[in-house]
């Protein structure tokens, strides 16, 4: 497997901060209830509720402030979105009903797409490997996922977790790291993927025009 695929920081198309904010907004507006983003009152309930805010470079509230200040590139290049565990407590508590978790996902997607992900975060690499496996097999293979993740230069973790991993393997709790059962409808999944990738781009392009 090519190492480049696992690198968290890949320089692709470079966007100016303004272009980046526009792209972000158009994608968020295209999400269900995405326009509620404009209603943020900077109350900080999201940051106060977030279980991992202490480990973030910028707290969730600061994302919305940065967006308004035209500094979204800083947020994208931070670890913020990748420290989001998707626990939805911010979404549930937001007095303006902004779907903050969905917006965090959008930040992750933009970061991956335009190569803005923080080099300090490892979750982007994990996400890429996960997608590769599920697209290939239709289901996840946890052994392959963790092995490929460790092999991309995370030997410390591999050594630390090896004993417990082996225990799990011998208890029958981990599959063989190669292959795995394929879903019969893989071609169905590929067709769905092709159509929806195209529609997603179209929809975001329309939002830019608005």
């Amino acid at each position: 497997m090519p190492r480049s695929e696992l690198r968290t920081k890949t320089r692709k198309q470079k966007l100016s901060p303004e272009e980046l904010s526009d792209t972000f907004l158009s994608h968020v507006y295209a999400l269900p209830d995405g326009r509620k983003l404009d209603l943020c009152i900077q109350c900080g309930t999201c940051s106060g509720s977030c279980p991992t805010a202490y480990a973030m470079d910028y707290s969730p509230r600061e994302i919305f402030a940065a967006l308004r200040a035209g500094m979204l590139d800083r947020v994208l290049f931070s670890n913020t979105a990748w420290m989001c565990t998707s626990c939805y407590i911010c979404t549930v508590r937001c007095p303006q009903q902004i779907k903050i978790t969905d917006i965090m996902y959008e930040l992750k997607r933009l970061g991956i797409k335009y190569g803005y992900t923080s080099p300090s975060t490892r979750s982007a690499a994990m996400a890429r490997i996960f997608i590769n496996i599920t697209n290939r097999l239709g289901r996840n293979n946890e052994s392959e996922l963790m092995m490929r993740f460790y092999m991309a230069g995370r030997w410390g973790d591999a050594i630390k977790n090896a004993w417990r991993g082996a225990k799990m393997f011998f208890k029958g709790r981990l599959p063989m790291p190669i292959g795995g059962r394929e879903v019969a409808g893989l071609s169905e999944m590929r067709k769905i993927r092709e159509v929806l990738e195209r529609l997603e781009e179209q929809k975001a392009a329309e939002e830019v025009k608005h």
């Binding site: 599920t134 709790r173 169905e188």
Partner: protein, 289 residues
């Protein structure tokens, strides 16, 4: 009663004892879990991080397959699968534009979905469809004296609520009490365990996991009951890290609520695959099995 069942990737291996014990308990409750044929990965929280609509598309294929089986309801045990499928379904039912795009994708694969499915989690089915009185009728060995901290985690009730409170769910407490066990006060019951981030950057989220274990110990819990494969993984697998972080000697067994139900119903350790966890549960559960 027969119910269509979406297992999910985790319960095939990592959380196989959840799958086994859930099926065994459902059988005792006269309910058969019929696996959805040729299901695919729902995408969990990870696929969504790279592509949005495609992730919903993957999830929607399962909904379409379920409808093809003629089902009105599909039950899951993994809260991540539950919320991913639920979310796609919810957006499909409430957002016509979204539904139209998903249907275009499905059509290309020769599938269709009408939005007529209801996604449910097993805890909801046990409490609200089967009923706790039915559970109580089948109890052979009440778990008297066992102190349990019920940890709901995040995705069982968030963000949609559905069958319980988003902030302070009690549904697992109710199930556990019906088994004759004592439920300890556990205020962190719906606080996040770090999710997938604990697997990628455990050094950063260990304080979260440590907080959960410490609260359970301070509440006097003998074990923690969970309903999520990832919660189980994070609390069980990472206890050595927590011990290093807190300088303590935590050794709290993490069990699936279905394993506790099975024990109370008189099922054997083997039938419930107790013993596959990393922090041994023998000391705590030995007298009940």
């Amino acid at each position: 009663m027969e119910m269509l069942y979406y297992p999910g990737c985790s319960v095939q291996y990592t959380a196989k004892m959840y799958d086994t014990s859930a099926k065994a308990v459902c059988k005792k409750l006269d309910m058969e879990l019929k696996e959805l044929p040729d299901w695919n990965c729902c995408g969990a929280t990870t696929y969504m991080s790279v592509r949005e609509l495609v992730s919903h598309g993957n999830s929607a294929r399962n909904l379409a397959l379920a409808r093809r089986e003629g089902a009105d309801e599909m039950v899951t045990v993994c809260p991540a699968c539950y919320i991913t499928l639920y979310k796609t379904n919810e957006y499909f039912q409430t957002n016509p534009e979204f539904a139209d795009m998903i249907r275009q994708g499905l059509k290309a694969a020769g599938l269709d979905y009408d939005g007529g499915l209801r996604i449910r989690h097993l805890v909801d089915v046990i409490v609200n469809t089967v009923g706790l009185d039915e559970v109580e009728k089948r109890i052979k060995k009440p778990l008297e004296g066992l102190k349990v901290a019920c940890y709901h985690g995040c995705m069982l009730t968030r963000p949609f609520g559905g069958f319980d409170s988003e902030e302070r769910p009690v549904i697992l407490d109710r199930i556990t009490r019906s088994l004759g066990a004592e439920v300890v006060e556990y205020p962190l019951t719906a606080k996040c365990c770090g999710g997938m981030v604990t697997n990628t950057e455990s050094s950063k989220t260990i304080p979260v996991v440590a907080g959960l274990l410490r609260a359970a110990k301070e509440a006097g819990a003998d074990c923690i009951a969970v309903a999520c494969p990832l919660c189980h993984m994070n609390l069980d697998f990472y206890q050595p890290e927590v011990n290093r972080y807190l300088g303590g000697d935590y050794s709290i067994p993490i069990v699936y609520f279905t394993q506790l139900m099975g024990l109370a119903m008189g099922l054997s350790r083997r039938e419930l695959e107790i013993g596959l966890e990393l922090v041994p549960s023998d000391k705590v559960l030995g007298k009940y099995a």
